[in-house]
């Protein structure tokens, strides 16, 4: 494999890993705090992408489209949390999984109704390329990686510096005890859900110029996002970031070596990590409801 191919593969892996990270962070936080498997995050990813497509058509500015996608995805997730999840937090994990899958499928139907089934293209906002070790690399992909790191830093600061963030971390340890302090747990759940939805929307918006936007785009990345969450450890932000980049690289470099590896290798790595560390790389065995 030539150095150029390897460099572009690594950059591609980093950018796809960044998208996985932005999507997986919501799933991970939702499980850590609320003990729900929120498959509907994949719907907010599609919502973010479609809003980016439509707003780009109207305004001609992709970044404005991404911003709109984030806002609308946050609003939709807020509505879903209030109308649906609030009623099922106490139910079993499988119940939330099935419900969220229902929301995802229903949401895809709504998307098909408004936008149809034909895949839609979104222009890349920045066509510039930059030379890295003799390889021309698209600047947009590097921006996506930078945004993922900025989000990581923002989430880290939020969880480690603000009182709400500390309360969320405390809730990930034990929700019952947080409630015992008189902290409004329901409000923490809503805040977490909106953050998760908005970040999934951001993932969709940023991914849109790199792919064709289609109604089932969420389902296509479902397995990878799950792998990222499981490898990283449920509820761990650092673990999610590291595992997102591992999965991104495996998908990218795997496809350079032998195309079917891109689909298969992440599963093998997940199984290997789970055999050695069943809670994932940074998952805490202390997690309890």
């Amino acid at each position: 494999m030539s150095a150029q191919l390897l460099t572009s593969g690594v950059i591609f892996g980093l950018s796809i890993g960044s998208i996985f990270f932005l999507m997986a962070i919501g799933l991970s936080l939702c499980f850590g705090l609320m003990r729900i498997i929120s498959l509907d995050q994949l719907l907010y990813y599609s919502v973010g992408a479609y809003l980016t497509y439509s707003l780009t058509l109207v305004t001609g500015n992709v970044w404005l489209g991404v911003l709109g996608g984030v806002v609308v995805a946050g609003i939709v997730s807020f509505a879903v949390e209030r109308l649906i999840f609030r009623r099922i937090y106490e139910r079993e994990l499988t119940f939330s999984m099935i419900t969220s899958f229902g929301v995802l499928i229903g949401g895809i139907g709504v998307i098909k109704f408004f936008w149809g089934v034909v895949p839609r293209p979104v222009p890349v906002p920045l066509m510039a390329q930059i030379d890295i070790i003799g390889t021309e690399v698209p600047v947009y992909r590097l921006i996506v990686v930078a945004i993922a790191f900025l989000v990581y830093a923002g989430i880290w600061l939020f969880l480690n510096r603000t009182i709400t963030g500390k309360a969320i971390r405390a809730g990930i340890e034990n929700v019952e005890h947080v409630e015992g302090l008189g902290i409004n747990v329901s409000r923490l759940f809503t805040i977490t859900f909106i953050i998760a939805g908005a970040l999934s929307g951001l993932a969709g918006g940023l991914h849109a110029p790199l792919i064709m936007v289609d109604p089932s785009m969420g389902l296509e990345v479902l397995a990878f996002v799950f792998m990222v969450v499981i490898i990283g450890g449920l509820g761990s932000i650092k673990g999610t970031l590291i595992s997102a980049f591992i999965v991104g690289q495996v998908v990218s470099l795997g496809s350079l070596i032998y195309a079917p590896l891109a689909q298969m290798a992440p599963f093998a790595i997940m199984l290997l990590i789970l055999l050695v560390k069943p809670t994932g790389l940074y998952g805490s065995p202390l997690l309890k409801r």
């Binding site: 603000t162 500390k166 971390r169 340890e173 019952e176 409630e179 302090l181 902290i183 409000r187």
Partner: protein, 261 residues
């Protein structure tokens, strides 16, 4: 006469065929320091969980200052002024000692809009007078920045009670706060709690009577989910059912021994 602050009427809780709490009528007055004792499985903690809202009762009602709180969530009851500790410490292992206290302080003293809530940083509240004073009172200054998971059990217990006290509740409810502690640590905790006698309503659940006998003004003894005695320490101690059930003293045998002597 002081006001009744907590009252339960016919409170019952079953787990399958087991009646964990059986039609318990109980009342606690303002500034009273009361204890509930009983052997393992007597229903003390279940009763505690019913009063604090962690279990819904199958039957009966719970009142707080005359208000029916039977269906209220634990969080709503905390907002009314009931704060509790847990048998297994309820501190947050992955947060620093100071952050555990800040969480409580912020909840107890906040006037928060959502934005304020989202942007308030822990750093701003770390040197609040009350938090600093609480650290000193409970001798936790030297571990203020340490993660709770690295504390000893005694320090964790002290922190948990410190958190409960910092919340400035009207009723402080302690579930076996002395369990697993060394005598020296028990002394520290009883000393701190002793300073609050007469100033605050305290309900303490304990397994061993010796720990609380000098501290509580009123004792309630539970056995198999029922209240079998309620009153002063001596009164409860001399109650034949308490002697039989709690101390497992065979009163009849004891009586015949006396007669033989």
């Amino acid at each position: 006469m002081s006001t009744e602050i907590i009252k339960t009427v016919g409170v019952t809780k079953c787990f399958g065929a087991l009646v964990a709490v059986d039609r318990v009528d109980y009342s606690l007055r303002e500034n009273e320091v009361a204890g509930i004792i009983g052997s393992n499985g007597a229903g003390k903690t279940t009763f505690f969980n019913l009063v604090t809202g962690y279990y819904p009762p199958d039957e009966g009602s719970i009142f707080y200052k005359g208000r029916d709180v039977t269906r209220m969530t634990p969080q709503q009851r905390v907002a009314l002024g009931m704060t509790r500790t847990f048998q297994l410490t309820s501190t947050f292992d992955n947060l620093a000692v100071i952050d555990n206290l800040v969480l409580v302080y912020f909840r107890a003293h906040r006037d928060s809009t959502l934005l304020k809530l989202l942007l308030s940083t822990c750093r701003r509240h770390r040197n609040e007078d009350k938090i600093v004073a609480t650290l000193e009172t409970f001798d936790l200054q030297h571990v203020r920045d340490r993660l709770v998971k690295n504390l000893s059990l005694g320090e964790k217990r002290r922190l948990e009670i410190a958190m409960a006290v910092l919340a400035e509740p009207q009723v402080l409810m302690l579930d076996e706060p002395l369990a697993g502690l060394a005598e020296s640590e028990i002394k520290v905790i009883l000393e701190v709690l002793g300073r609050r006698v007469g100033k605050q309503t305290i309900l303490i659940v304990e397994h061993k009577i010796s720990h609380v006998k000098d501290f509580v003004q009123r004792l309630t003894v539970m056995h198999e989910g029922r209240v079998i005695a309620d009153g002063g320490y001596e009164e409860c101690l001399s109650d034949p059912e308490v002697r039989r059930s709690y101390w497992q003293i065979d009163t009849e045998q004891e009586g015949s021994k006396h007669a033989a002597a």
